[in-house]
């Protein structure tokens, strides 16, 4: 037996063709981003009970999309989303070395497009009085064979530039006008060198999250767990936002306290403006940290609600849980999926909400 079809009998050819035709009845959905999220970030999220078979691995870094060469410099803060960031720099150092890897090592000139996770500070509801971190995967150019420090620098540069997202997401821009100058990584410390100590006019809740967004982003890009993050400000400032001292290190909250940083509801799929082929099922997935794990959803078309329902995540707050809503096959058109949590105090107020547009063609 060889697996080669040339020696098949008619019966075997029939079987081969039947299996192929049977398997073609489904169209596997793209799960690249979800896999990226699972291997890339160490945010522990409770999974639905159906995921019983393989232990979920965590923490790593990002995926290559395809090697391309770019010649663009990166100082953070100014690149539009989807455009190459980070100069072509590389380092032969590794994390196993006791010396830190730096993002300013010699250049090689060849970069690859990768999907880097970046965290942003955004309002968690329309009232705009509470904020949390949202995660975006942004295609970014980094050097082939990039060090963790180089990836972290590229990711932090993306995170510091919320402007490209502000037309369609409730993100604020606490790092406007600032950039990341350098990143160094050792097994015990990530050091971010920033150009300045930040913009003014933000609330203390926003500035605290602004510091944390860089912590989450750098740690996710480095992919080595919760290595403490230290800040250095190139202009000599001893604090960030005039409040947070650069003399101390910063880290993610413990697992059961991550609700302090993360927005209560994320939609992780579809991607923004994803296009589905008509006739295929639209399945929306996300994470939430909601009372009794319960959130409500609406499917909107042209502003009007077409469908609505309630969903239960795999876990309730304080543990984040994943949820899935199968919308079935939809007619062609532009849609928006809204997930929200209603206040348990009055049954009316919206505690948290987020939306994602997509298209069926």
């Amino acid at each position: 037996m060889t697996g080669n079809s040339t020696n098949d009998s008619d019966f075997e050819r029939q079987l081969r063709e039947s299996l192929r035709r049977d398997a073609d009845r489904i169209s596997p959905r793209d799960k690249r981003l979800e896999i990226l999220a699972m291997v890339h970030d160490d945010t522990e999220v409770a999974q639905p009970s159906r995921r019983w078979f393989i232990p979920v691995a965590a923490a790593a870094s990002v995926a290559l999309i395809g090697a391309v060469a770019w010649g663009v410099s990166n100082t953070g803060g100014g690149q539009p989303v989807g455009q190459p960031v980070s100069p072509a720099t590389s380092s032969s150092s590794s994390l196993s070395s006791s010396s830190p890897t730096s993002s300013s090592s010699p250049a090689t000139g060849v970069t690859s497009q990768v999907a880097l996770p970046a965290y942003f500070v955004g309002a968690v509801s329309d009232t705009g009085d509470r904020f949390g971190l949202y995660r975006e995967f942004v295609k970014t150019a980094v050097p082939v064979g990039a060090t963790p420090a180089q990836k972290a620098k590229a990711a932090v540069a993306v995170a510091m530039n919320a402007q490209p997202f502000t037309n369609f997401e409730p993100y604020v821009q606490p790092w406007s006008g600032q950039s990341v100058k350098d990143v160094s990584v050792t097994p015990s410390l990530i050091t971010l060198t920033l150009s300045g100590s930040s913009a003014s006019g933000f609330t203390s809740a926003q500035t605290q999250l602004a510091v944390q967004e860089l912590v989450w982003t750098a740690q996710a890009a480095v992919g080595q767990g919760t290595i403490p993050v230290k800040f250095v400000v190139a202009d000599g400032s001893s604090t960030l936002f005039g409040t947070y001292p650069t003399s101390q290190t910063y880290n993610r909250p413990a697992k059961d306290l991550q609700y302090q940083d993360l927005a209560p509801i994320w939609i992780t799929a579809p991607e923004r403006a994803h296009m589905y082929k008509a006739g295929t099922s639209v399945v929306v997935t996300g994470e939430s940290c909601a009372f009794e794990a319960t959130t409500q959803w609406q499917l909107k078309k042209s502003g009007a609600a077409l469908k609505s329902g309630t969903t239960t995540a795999a876990s309730g707050c304080p543990t984040r849980g994943t949820w899935t809503v199968n919308l079935g096959a939809l007619a062609a058109g532009d849609y928006s999926f809204r997930m929200f949590e209603v206040s348990m105090q009055d049954g009316k107020g919206i505690v948290a909400e987020t939306s994602k547009p997509f298209t069926v063609r």
Binding site: T2, R16, A23, A59, G225, T280
Partner: protein, 184 residues
């Protein structure tokens, strides 16, 4: 804002990412379809393969080779699909799907005229007969005739000997032929 350290072990870094991306591009579709042929539930099939990729990434430091990683992925997919079938919820969903005119998850529309016509074709009788074979024979025949794997590759994917593969294939084909010819 000083926070306690948690820590997660490194999972392979850049090389693992490259392997994951290359293997995803080349094999995601076929592996999901392979799992679906076993579990008949698209969501479970996708999650099975998704988890296999995550597990492969986390084990990259031991695998260190795309061929070995692909063999590992196949083994994960077959084993997890088998486990999934044992799971009551999946079995329930499968039975419901069968009752509801072959609507796999993700293909919830009614069967087309073409599919209904195919119900009576030899191909469907073959697939139905394949589903009645013992699990190991199903796996061997599916890996052989859907993924075109060699005897050695099937043995590796199922963690059995090449001799067992040959025996399961022979018995499976004989039973399948007998079943189909007996019902035609």
């Amino acid at each position: 804002m000083e926070r306690a350290e948690g820590g997660v072990a490194p999972a392979g870094g850049w090389e693992a990412d490259s392997a994951l991306t290359a293997l995803y591009a080349a094999h995601w579709q076929s592996l999901v379809r392979l799992s679906w042929l076993f579990v008949r539930d698209q969501q479970v099939a996708e999650e099975t393969v998704q988890d296999a990729f995550v597990a492969m990434h986390s084990r990259w430091s031991q695998l260190r080779d795309q061929d070995r990683a692909l063999a590992y992925l196949r083994r994960c997919v077959v084993n997890s699909s088998r486990s999934a079938l044992r799971h009551r919820a999946v079995e329930t969903r499968y039975l419901k799907a069968e009752t509801n005119a072959r609507t796999a998850y993700g293909t919830t529309s009614a069967p087309s005229a073409e599919i209904q016509a195919l119900e009576h074709a030899t191909g469907d009788r073959l697939i139905a007969a394949l589903g009645r074979l013992p699990r190991r024979q199903q796996e061997v025949l599916t890996l052989r005739y859907f993924l075109d794997l060699s005897e050695a590759q099937i043995a590796e994917a199922l963690s059995i000997s090449a001799g067992s593969v040959k025996a399961h294939a022979h018995r499976g084909l004989t039973s399948l032929r007998s079943d189909v010819e007996g019902t035609s």
